[in-house]
């Protein structure tokens, strides 16, 4: 134990299951819990929709809410939950010295404007002129900021007053991995005492689905658990809206202000397999080795997306170690892209804090885990690129 150890003192979660660690724990530990699905709105794709959220609870000013599209609002909301949970929200001294690393993609375009431009393009050859004509007159001026990647962090600064530093990492699941890894490295080296880290993904927008489907990654047809989509129609990914933020803190800093500690963040490892050269299998094995797994049964919170190749590679590598009791949480939440790794870390920390594992999310592919986990593995193997994992330990 070291005073510069990284501990988790705040968790903010939103998904189709609800909001906050308690709601998630209750549902995820209910044996045979059935996911919340919407198979109609974006058919033939199934999604896990956002729960009902009272944005006012974390974003007090309506004016602020109007300046954000749903993705930014969702992230700002989840960040607020984590700050509240860590007792930082509203504390000026802690907020203004807090660093922040946000994993972000892009926000929501104006679907109506885009659809009108595309429809008009069928009868016009001067498409570039059409674009100027429509965009200059129909785009809402503030939409740009409401969808801009770094403005999720910008809004967190404005709404929650986190202003020590602000960085936004981009790059799907890998951005979430790097965000946690970098935040932890800052704390371990003494550069930061407390860091807000996380991401959000709002899938209920056609462009967010298009981002997967341009490579045929989405699962179609009847919903199935994440491990059972190989050979099914489509590419295996079922997406979900959600967000996950963590407050990471230097152990000494957390102790000195008397905060409850969920868990300690152990080693975070990451990599970039050249998947075209079939390096993924070996990369996952190498990361598992680097993570220095403890001996004995190990609860493993997998962020597997369902994407056929990546999920098969991850499953093979995890199955090869009989000590791992794997839980693919995308079965119940859907894939949340940039938020995937922070979400996995949060679920791992909750299991340690509550001294219990999760029941199987898919009885055909997962095995039981009994007892109180002392260490939990969290993974995020990107559906297309980038890989990471980390160990979360009892504090």
């Amino acid at each position: 134990m070291n005073s510069h150890d990284v501990v988790i003192t705040g968790i903010g979660l939103v998904s189709s299951l609800g909001e906050g660690p308690d709601a998630h724990w209750q549902k995820l530990t209910q044996p045979g819990f059935q996911p919340v699905l919407d198979a109609e709105r974006f058919a033939p794709y199934t999604i896990h929709p956002l729960p009902e959220i009272d944005w006012n609870l974390q974003i007090a000013k309506r004016g602020d809410q109007r300046q954000m599209e749903t993705w930014q609002r969702l992230g700002t909301y989840a960040a607020g939950l984590a700050l509240d949970d860590a007792g930082i929200k509203g504390n000026d001294e802690l907020s203004t010295t807090m660093d922040m690393v946000v994993a972000a993609g892009g926000g929501e375009r104006d679907e109506a404007v885009d659809a009108a431009i595309l429809a008009a393009s069928e009868s016009r050859n001067d498409r570039d002129v059409l674009l100027n004509e429509k965009l200059t007159t129909e785009l809402r001026p503030t939409l740009f900021l409401a969808q801009l990647s770094n403005l999720l962090a910008g809004n967190i600064s404005i709404v929650h007053k986190v202003t020590g530093s602000s960085r936004t990492f981009m790059g799907e699941e890998g951005a979430g991995v790097s965000a946690v890894e970098t935040a932890a490295a800052r704390i371990r080296s003494g550069q930061s005492t407390h860091v807000l880290v996380g991401g959000a993904f709002q899938t209920e927008h056609s462009d967010m689905l298009l981002g997967y489907e341009l490579a045929g990654y989405l699962h179609r047809g009847p919903w199935k658990p994440v491990w059972q989509r190989q050979g099914g129609e489509g590419g295996g990914v079922v997406t979900g809206s959600g967000g996950a933020f963590l407050v990471l803190e230097q152990r000494e800093h957390a102790k000195s202000r008397g905060r409850r500690i969920y868990a300690e963040l152990g080693p975070i490892v990451s990599g970039r397999a050249r998947r075209r050269l079939s390096e993924l299998d070996a990369e996952i094995v190498a990361l598992l080795k680097q993570a220095e797994l403890p001996a004995g049964e190990l609860l493993t919170i997998s962020g597997a997306s369902g994407a056929h190749a990546a999920t098969a590679a991850e499953k093979a590598a995890l199955d090869a170690n009989p000590a791992l009791a794997v839980r693919g949480f995308s079965t119940l939440t859907g894939h949340m892209k940039e938020a995937q790794f922070p979400f996995a870390v949060a679920l791992a920390a909750m299991a340690i804090d509550r001294k219990a594992g999760y029941p199987v999310f898919d009885a055909t592919a997962e095995k039981p885990f009994d007892g109180a986990p002392k260490t939990v593995l969290a993974t995020a193997i990107g559906y297309h690129q980038f890989e990471g994992m980390g160990l979360i330990k009892a504090a």
């Binding site: 794709y45 300046q67 922040m100 993609g105 892009g106 375009r109 679907e111 885009d114 659809a115 595309l118 429809a119 393009s121 069928e122 498409r127 002129v129 674009l131 100027n132 965009l135 200059t136 785009l139 740009f144 900021l145 801009l148 990647s149 770094n150 403005l151 910008g154 600064s157 986190v162 202003t163 602000s166 960085r167 936004t168 990492f169 981009m170 790059g171 890998g174 951005a175 790097s178 970098t182 490295a185 800052r186 080296s189 550069q191 056609s206 462009d207 689905l209 298009l210 489907e213 341009l214 045929g216 989405l218 990451s270 970039r272 990107g382 297309h384 690129q385 980038f386 890989e387 990471g388």
Partner: protein, 423 residues
């Protein structure tokens, strides 16, 4: 013998390779010649029609093979070109760099050209249903990869043989400086002995231009394009959208000296502070910018008296230049009136995600060449901003230390302190 550790006991970080591309040309030689002769790269837009647009000028990079191939391809080529120059200058293996990659690049979106072509490839249904249906029948990944935020860095990692999971980041107009800061911090923490930091932006599409236009951020002085960017002038009316890239090879001084590399400069300090005031406007008292400058000085272990030149953010927007002046005059006091402060953006426009890296490259060259590039178009000084902006003509001067400012939309402020020599 130079100190290998800084005032906080961390490894000193040296620059051993520099690369740059702007509308003024490819590479340091051409850029420096143009920059020091006060030449502007701002020109009329020819990449797309300008019908209906209020702003019809930019500092786009129109001379690369990817210039007409969309934001993702151009951003990649800009990054690759600058990185190749930097890695070659450093004398390192450009296919096996062996350190991490930090890339500042613009957020990606499906280009309109692809959107139109996908949509019009069939006639069934309409709107997003049609796009999704056509998308899932695609049998190649080219378009998909332009929509993945990590793809440019992934390709660069392949190309240069960088180590580990590359980080792609955005802190808006401060991104390039943040990429450098991340590299500096990784070396200081002992995670690596070298890092490749790149800022690249080839995203000056019609939609990007319109978005900034709708925020009233762009200059509309279309008639004489090279005169449109006029930082610190009374009649400044917005920034000029531009493209470019800057790349630095960062190395621990110890590793660089051990392999006999030429030391091009020292990254002495990095500082940042976020603003919580507004999405596009800075806090009226400039306190976040002031705090970012002070944090960079503290990180460098320098007092304000030790800074000899400021490479300003100097965007030419009414708001930024006023706020930047307030922050500099607060930090440097009386001295600010006699201290050279110039804006490269007067010539190259605002290269957005690349700006911090491009301007760090020029800051390092300023020290090496003992020439300060001017702020051009300074014909009508803003009486409220009393600065020595190195007006219109370069100045020969010994410069041992530089402060380079980057202040972004969304309140992300990053400042870098660089030195010519190790101490």
């Amino acid at each position: 013998m130079a100190n290998l550790k800084d005032h906080m006991g961390r490894p000193v970080v040296a620059v051993t390779g520099i690369g740059v591309v702007t509308s003024l040309g490819v590479g340091k030689t051409d850029n420096w010649a143009a920059l020091t002769s006060g030449k502007s790269g701002i020109h009329p837009i020819t990449r797309f029609p300008v019908d209906h647009l209020n702003t019809r000028i930019s500092g786009m990079v129109d001379f690369l093979p990817s210039s007409s191939k969309g934001a993702s391809h151009l951003t990649y080529e800009l990054a690759e070109t600058a990185a190749q120059e930097a890695v070659s200058e450093a004398g390192l293996d450009s296919g096996d760099f062996g350190g991490p990659l930090f890339l500042a690049s613009p957020p990606v979106e499906l280009d309109w050209a692809d959107r139109f072509s996908l949509y019009n490839s069939d006639k069934k249904d309409g709107g997003s249903e049609r796009l999704l249906r056509v998308a899932r029948a695609l049998r190649e990944l080219d378009i998909f990869e332009t929509t993945q935020f990590g793809s440019i860095a992934d390709r660069l990692a392949d190309r240069f043989g960088t180590r580990g999971l590359p980080i792609t980041l955005s802190t808006a107009c401060a991104s390039g400086a943040t990429a450098i800061q991340l590299g500096v911090e990784a070396i200081r923490r002992g995670e690596c002995d070298k890092a490749l930091s790149i800022g690249a932006d080839g995203s000056a599409t019609a939609e990007a231009l319109i978005r900034f236009s709708l925020l009233s951020a762009l200059s509309t002085h279309n008639d004489i394009p090279e005169k449109a960017s006029k930082p610190f002038s009374k009649d400044r009316d917005g920034f000029v959208l531009a493209e470019g890239s800057g790349a630095l090879v960062l190395e621990s001084l110890e590793a660089a000296l051990a392999r006999g590399a030429t030391i091009l400069g020292i990254m002495s300090g990095c500082g940042e502070k976020a603003d919580d005031f507004h999405r596009t406007r800075s806090k009226p008292d400039a306190s976040p910018a002031i705090a970012a400058v002070r944090a960079a000085l503290a990180d460098a272990g320098m007092s304000e008296d030790e800074i000899e030149y400021v490479n300003a953010h100097g965007t030419s927007t009414p708001e930024n230049d006023k706020m930047e002046h307030l922050s500099l005059s607060t930090v440097f006091g009386e001295r600010i009136g006699s201290m050279p402060v110039s804006s490269n953006k007067s010539m190259i426009g605002h290269t957005l995600s690349a700006a911090g890296a491009v301007e760090a490259a020029f800051s390092l060259m300023t020290m090496r060449e003992s020439v300060i590039p001017p702020t051009i178009n300074y014909d009508n000084p803003d009486p409220a901003i009393v600065l020595d902006v190195v007006p219109n003509k370069k100045r020969n001067a010994e410069v041992r230390t530089v402060l380079s400012n980057s202040f972004g939309f969304g309140g992300q402020n990053t400042c870098l302190v660089m030195a010519r020599e190790p101490v």
